[in-house]
């Protein structure tokens, strides 16, 4: 039977072919949009059915019983949740690309949209299989397509290099994935998720830890977790903005998806101790990358790089929550705590997917409108794109996690998870403090992003800002509205999230909707959702009050030129550059935040290089490799006699060895 899921993939592949032959950006874009939209519709039909109805959709394509492997679209609630996000965000990005891609006049539209739809198909497929073998196949398909998308501006050697780095790193990681899968196949004789779960449970702790490590590294690499995801800040800016939005919004979340899949149900059942360790490992990597990503983003002046670092940071939050979940999963009495972590992770995945793609789109709008990504050289473009600017404002507020946006709703759950987790296991408290600090730095860099690009006098350095086409504004506006909607009705979204985890909300969450702001019982019992509606009502009342107060004086309003200490200045001199933001802080940062834990850590440059894996890890690695390789290759001097000696010596050696081993 052909369910709506199969149709999704058929549509995407057909779309890839159809739009692949188109010659003009517009037609190709529209065609691709139509196909992606249709695919999204079908995916959502299936996804909602699974998500709300529970159960699972299953359509066998073919089976390899001898291998214990089968290719089937099998959608359980978790996959369904991801499928919804993937298709939704991808649709927005595709719509956006219609207008946006017109800046690539000289490139081939067909290639782009074909690859884009293959990419989407790959991601959707990853969410729709229940078999590690085909999971890996689709995973690689996704990597491949995204690689060619990242390197779309391949005339630029830097872009080609970035894409290469991305491809190689992720591919190495997924080789680990393959090894892990094969190990478990050897144990269980099957590639099915369930079987591997059982095999993992049954395996000796050493094997289990090796396999888990392989899985974790693979998925952390994809998710951009520091230090594995070193490819991310290079690759995401390199890609066309629509693609960056998908990469950052959805693809790296699939890393979290993988972690969820692997650790799902591993807790408890004898494995609890080991799982606790793993939870702590995952959480600490999460905290680390949240910290590093946040602080690196603060000093970044390239719009898209800044967002890329913030992706690292936000994924760190997700992994922190996942770590809490893994730590407490299946431990008696702490189920609600584990569930809290799980919900936090899932909810933040959802929200980050939405606002991060939104922000990448607005970064794309900056690029489209001014021709540069350098925040130092842009400014005041909100004049030419009011809608996009408003959307961008919503985006940065969500990113900074300010109420009443969705970013706040999910971060809040994560804080509660980590603090009440800290009640059980105190290191999580430190994680909470770091998380708070990071969220402040998030506010800092999101403000920097928005204020320098959209507000203030418009720059005269870049080209004169030009307005953006409606499709771009539309895509951003829609995403922004979703941000607000989820922010105002978090419980609605959290129901879906918990449905995706085929668990129900804790009772307090359910009745907490119009209840008090929060009630956290003792003993780490799950707290209530805050009630944004109530909060917003109060806020609006206060706002009204403020306006009334303001009006009391019946004072008239008069518009005046800005006051610059009484002197006249050219507008451009008055711009407060992006690099000016936080410079003292960035200078002082090691002094402030690392002298205490890390005594006498040398200056910021060294610190940055300590964070920058390229300088101290990958480049030396590559150079060392090259040196070793050259050493080996120098043995081929080209003189025939030498080679002849190899032959003869090899001959003797072979005889000797064979005599030794053959008995």
């Amino acid at each position: 039977m052909v369910g709506s899921l199969e149709i999704v993939f058929v549509l995407l592949f057909v779309g890839a072919i159809v739009s692949g032959v188109m010659r003009s950006w517009r037609s190709a874009g529209v065609t691709a949009t139509v196909f992606v939209a249709l695919a999204t519709v079908f995916a959502w039909l299936a996804g909602w059915k699974v998500l709300l109805g529970g159960g699972a959709a299953y359509g066998l394509i073919f089976r390899l019983p001898t291998l214990g492997s089968e290719l089937a679209v099998s959608l359980d609630p978790l996959g369904a949740g991801f499928l919804l996000v993937i298709t939704g965000v991808s649709l927005a990005a595709t719509i956006y690309s219609i207008g946006y891609m017109s800046i690539y006049r000289d490139k081939s539209p067909g290639t782009f949209y074909a690859l884009l739809q293959l990419f989407i198909a790959g991601m959707a497929g990853v969410a729709c299989v229940a078999d590690w073998l085909f999971f890996i196949v689709l995973w690689e398909l996704m990597t491949l397509a995204s690689y060619f998308l990242v390197t779309f501006e391949r005339d630029d050697p830097a872009v080609a290099r970035a894409g290469f780095k991305y491809f190689v790193m992720t591919h190495v990681a997924s080789a680990g994935l393959l090894v892990a899968a094969i190990v478990l196949w050897r144990l269980t004789g099957s590639f099915a998720f369930g079987a591997h779960k059982a095999g993992l449970m049954g395996a000796s702790s050493s094997i289990r830890n090796v396999v888990l490590a392989l899985y974790f590294i693979a998925f952390a690499t994809k998710a951009g977790i520091y230090p594995f995801g070193d490819w991310l800040p290079d690759a995401h800016p390199a890609a066309p903005s629509g693609v960056s939005a998908i990469l950052s919004g959805v693809m790296i979340k699939l890393g979290a998806y993988g972690v969820l899949r692997v650790f799902w149900g591993l807790g408890g059942a004898g494995a609890a101790g080991g799982m606790m360790t793993w939870g702590i490992i995952v959480a600490s990597f999460g905290v680390l990358s949240a910290f590093v990503g946040g602080l690196t983003a603060m000093r970044e002046n390239d719009a898209k790089r800044l967002l890329a670092y913030s992706s690292i940071s936000q994924t760190g939050y997700i992994f922190l929550a996942l770590g809490i979940w893994i730590t407490f999963a299946g431990r008696v009495g702490l189920e609600s705590l584990a569930l809290l972590g799980l919900l936090g992770a899932g909810f933040h995945i959802l929200n980050d997917a939405i606002y991060k793609s939104l922000l990448f789109l607005s970064a794309g709008s900056i690029l489209y409108s001014t021709g540069t990504r350098d925040l130092d050289r842009v400014g005041g473009i909100s004049r030419v794109m009011p809608v996009a600017a408003a959307a961008g404002l919503v985006g940065v507020l969500s990113l900074a996690g300010l109420p009443p946006t969705n970013g706040f709703a999910s971060k809040w759950v994560i804080y509660q998870a980590s603090i009440s987790g800290g009640f059980q296991f105190s290191p999580f408290i430190a994680a909470a403090v770091v998380a708070f600090f990071v969220s402040l730095s998030t506010l800092a860099y999101s403000m920097k992003f928005f204020c320098t690009a959209f507000l203030g006098p418009s720059s005269t350095e870049g080209t004169e800002p030009r307005p953006i086409p409606g499709t771009m504004s539309f895509a951003q506006a829609v995403l922004a509205l979703i941000c607000l909607a989820i922010g105002l009705a978090p419980l609605w979204a959290m129901r879906l999230v918990s449905a995706a985890f085929s668990s129900s909300l804790p009772s307090i969450y359910r009745n907490g909707f119009f209840g008090g702001m929060s009630t956290l019982g003792a003993g780490g019992e799950a707290p209530a959702a805050w009630s944004p509606i109530a909060a917003v009502v109060v806020l609006l009342v206060c706002f009204a009050l403020a306006q009334i107060i303001r009006g009391l004086g019946r004072s008239s309003a008069r518009s005046v030129p800005g006051w610059y200490g009484g002197e006249e200045h050219a507008e451009n001199d008055l711009r407060f550059r992006a690099r000016g933001f936080y410079s003292p802080f960035n200078e002082a940062f090691p002094k402030v935040y690392l002298r205490v834990p890390v005594p006498r850590l040398p200056g910021l440059g060294r610190l940055r290089s300590a964070f920058d894996l390229d300088t101290w890890f990958y480049n030396p690695l590559v150079r060392g490799g090259e040196r070793a390789v050259n050493k080996v290759s120098r043995s081929h001097v080209g003189i025939p006699q030498l080679y002849m000696i190899w032959q003869v010596a090899g001959m003797v050696l072979v005889i000797a060895i064979l005599f030794l081993i053959v008995r």
Partner: protein, 299 residues
């Protein structure tokens, strides 16, 4: 939480904040051996500002509505803050919401500053954030200490727990840390880096005038009051007084005392550079983390 206590919170915040400011100015004057303005001076200023005309250097909507937004958010925070003693008055909010609404106000001010397009303002906004970055962790750390002690994220619970359980090492240390950071949270010398009239001519507020300025001033004053109230309510809630209005009075008095101390410090100390301020804050943060550690091991 019945509406009454909420109203009480709001009124306290709106009415007492200028008074506390008046107290500060008086004390500063005394230290400088001046006569100084009357305690009600700040009320006068604000009322006067309300009457003045509203100057707009840009048509940006953000610039226009940010003051009200900042005011509103700080007012909400005020509603969330326990101001009477145990049981706390006000909305039953938890510390995360509390902190984030404070941040919301700050964000509103920063956006406004950037929208004005005035470099001084932007610089002020940037400094605002930097100060936030160095101060908030301390506040958070001390509050989480309280949370750990009281096993609750709710500010009233924290205050209630401390109230009943009596003083403890970790709470004391945390309180000290908070107090040490208070000067900055109050935005006073040596930490009035964000406004810093003499350098960035009022920083974020430079382009504002008339009622907008009044709202902003009011908002900032409320923020000062809120921080002090948190210190008082969560870390030194004692003693218990029988009818609750007395509690209100006592806590108000305690806050006033804190303002006096702050004013004295302000009067005698010059402004720090931002990096010096951060170094200082890092030390304080260390104290706060120590408190957290104590709390973790349960002392």
């Amino acid at each position: 939480m019945h509406a009454g206590t909420i109203a009480i919170n709001g009124l306290l915040a709106l009415l007492l904040a200028p008074l506390f400011d008046g107290v500060t100015r008086k004390v500063r004057a005394i230290v400088h051996s001046r006569k100084g303005p009357p305690l009600t001076q700040t009320y006068m200023d604000i009322l006067k500002l309300l009457g003045k005309e509203d100057l707009r250097c840009t048509t940006s909507a953000i610039f226009r509505f940010a003051p009200a937004a900042a005011f509103a958010s700080f007012l909400v925070v005020a509603l969330l803050t326990p101001m009477g003693a145990y049981p706390g008055t006000g909305l039953n909010g938890d510390m995360i919401v509390w902190i984030y609404f404070l941040t919301f106000g700050a964000a509103a001010i920063i956006l406004m500053a950037s929208a004005s397009g005035n470099p001084f303002a932007k610089m002020g906004g940037a400094r605002e954030i930097m100060l936030l970055l160095s101060v908030e962790p301390i506040v958070v750390a001390s509050l989480i200490t309280a949370a750990v002690k009281s096993r609750s994220l709710l500010l009233p619970d924290m205050s209630a727990h401390n109230f009943t359980a009596g003083p403890s090492v970790s709470m004391a240390v945390a309180g000290v840390a908070l107090f040490l950071a208070l000067q900055a949270t109050l935005g006073r010398l040596p930490f009035d880096i964000a406004e810093a009239e003499s350098e960035v001519v009022g920083g974020a507020l430079v382009e504002q005038g008339g009622p907008s300025l009044a709202l902003l001033k009011m908002a900032l004053l409320m923020r000062q009051a809120i921080y002090s109230y948190i210190l008082v309510q969560v870390f030194i809630p004692w003693p218990a007084l029988s009818p609750w209005p007395l509690m209100l009075v006592s806590s108000a008095v305690k806050v006033a005392v804190i303002f006096v101390l702050a004013a004295v410090i302000e009067a005698v100390s010059p402004r720090l550079r931002i990096d010096q301020a951060m170094t200082y804050m890092s030390r304080v943060l260390f104290v706060a983390l120590a408190a957290l550690a104590f709390a973790a091991i349960g002392v």
